[in-house]
Amino acid sequence: MKKIFAVLAVLLACLNFSGCGTGQNDKNKNEVYVYTWGDYLNPEAVKLFEKETGIHVVLDTFDTNESMYPRVSEGAVHYDVICPSDYMIQKMIDNGLLQPLDFNKLPEAKKNIGEQFFKQSKYFDPDNKYSVPYAWGTVGIMYNKKVVDDPVDSWKILWNEKYKDKILMQDSPRDALMVPLKIMGRSMNETDKEQLEKAKEMLVQQKPLVQAYVIDEVKDKMISGEAAIGVVFSGEALMIMEENKDTDFAIPKEGTNFWIDSWVVAKDAQNVDNAHKFIDFMCRPDIAVMNFEHLGYSTPNIAVRDLVTNEEYKNSPVAFPDPSTYENQETYKYLGNDMDSYYNRLWMQVKTAD
């Protein structure tokens, strides 16, 4: 019996150590731990960074802000640079997971990132102390011109009986509730429960018309023509329009979400200097162009447009929208744990409605 325990103990010990293997950081090693969305960086750009600086990049990826958060907050791995979205950055600031950036070490960021994007960042980073914008975009209505013959300029078209079973909605509480809230003329950061209840009711009424609640599947369904109209992120819209020439993208007049994914540095980062070098490198116009052409999401880097070689992208109002159109758009804020749960509950009520 004793032997069994001994074996068990050894095994558990092994598990323990291997579990935080990537977190063990040798001070002498010249490294930077980067945690970002899947396929969010051009691998060539990362290689170039390693070659120029001699800093080894350890890259991990996540697929939702929500799955990223616990890994950082529990400190299982000490990441240096992270690239979360707006409201999540605010949540991380509120919970003391980030450290202020030293902008003296970020000359390229200061030079190349548009003033407007820092201004918009104030929604979640009020003093512009913690984040450098990396990618941005909006949410709009993607539609198939062959099927949709009404003018697409309002979210209300998603409640049109004519398009029953051809409508796609986003399968996430904030993105779903944003649409009726905007129709009602409310903020997408609404915290008044009465208003939220009304927004939920609108979604329940809309449910029989909706073909599916989607996240990534939106691309397939719009390209194949399975769906005719749906709520789509601008970056995805660009890819869809390239594949299916019958589609177009419109920003509703009621307003939409101006989202920003930004670089931040974790509070317990072990390679703070390297982290700054990495962020600044990614803000260099020649590197930003590589990332933009790889990714397809709009870039806040104002020096990029002149360097883009793909004519289709260069002249696309979806890839390079006129920023003035977006001056009064809102960005998601972190509404606190209780409000988050409340949004989730409302969304569940929509999904379980008959």
């Binding site: 095994l11 958060y69 051809k166 996430s172």
Partner: protein, 274 residues
């Protein structure tokens, strides 16, 4: 060969390790999380959430769809197995192999294939149009989810049923006929009771995965149907509420335990008869 008790016990070590690390410890974790709040103190609030409308609805929908799936699987598999044991052994084995083949394919892939069959402009509707028949809207309906589950879980019903039925001594049927039973009576009094153990393990093996699935309902239900499996998945991945997710898992486990208790109860009463 392995007479010595120590040697025999040694062979048990891998299993005990496996059971301890991958069954017992996770189970303790789930029960701990399910019965505590984020502060770590004991609470039943997480369990009580099932009484709230949206959670109760998704559990009810899961149970109903799982029951329908199990019943249809049983109705499909039973006659099939009866026919198979009448055939020559080799033919039966080949047909069984054909039934098991889909199991070698990834569940997600085959479910995605169903998605393209059921879509508005999918294969099914294209065939219907060729035959000048009206379109069927199946995708994103409970029917699509049930068909997907039947397709994926039918082999789990066929296999145990076939094994049990093929093990029944043929001479028992002959004896029944010699004693004047017609084929209907033979089925009711001989075949059915003797095949029950297989049917019960088949029911368990279909009902439990059907009750807990979240991939099939997400793909074929277009996320418009929220099954309890989807709710649990969201609690863990989106909401990051491990306590609630664990509590809901405990509730699902209650159904599984009920299923197991019924099986054991049935086994015992059968042994007593023997």
């Amino acid at each position: 060969m392995f007479q010595s008790v120590t040697v025999r016990n040694l062979f048990l070590v891998p299993f005990c390790l496996w059971a301890g690390i991958f069954i017992f410890i996770p189970l303790v974790c789930i029960i701990y999380y399910g019965l505590t709040n984020s502060g770590g103190s004991f609470t039943l609030d997480n369990i009580a959430i099932i009484t709230q409308r949206e959670y109760y609805y998704s559990l009810r929908l899961s149970v109903v769809l799982a029951l329908i799936t199990t019943i249809i699987c049983l109705l499909l598999a039973y006659p099939l197995c009866l026919i198979l044991i009448e055939r020559a052994k080799s033919a039966g084995t080949i047909i069984i192999l054909l039934f098991v083949l889909p199991l070698w394919m990834n569940t997600l892939l085959s479910t995605m294939a169903w998605q393209t069959i059921f879509e508005r402009d999918g294969i099914l509707n294209q065939v219907l149009r060729l035959l000048s028949m009206p379109d069927m809207t199946l995708i994103n309906t409970p029917t699509a989810v049930v068909i997907g589950m039947i397709y994926n879980y039918l082999p789990y019903m066929v296999l145990p049923l076939y094994v049990t039925l093929s093990k029944i001594d043929k001479s028992i049927f002959e004896a029944a006929r010699d004693l004047g039973a017609n084929s209907w009576q033979t089925f009711l009094k001989v075949t059915l009771p003797l095949s029950l153990p297989g049917a019960i393990s088949g029911i368990t093996m279909v009902f439990i995965p059907a009750l807990t699935t979240f991939a099939i309902s997400a793909l074929l239900g277009g996320s418009k149907l929220l099954l309890i499996g989807n709710v649990i998945e969201q609690e863990f991945t989106v909401e990051y509420d491990w306590h609630l997710g664990s509590a809901l898992s405990i509730i699902l486990m209650i159904f599984i335990v009920i299923n197991m208790v019924l099986t054991i109860f049935f086994d015992m009463s059968r042994r007593e008869e023997e």
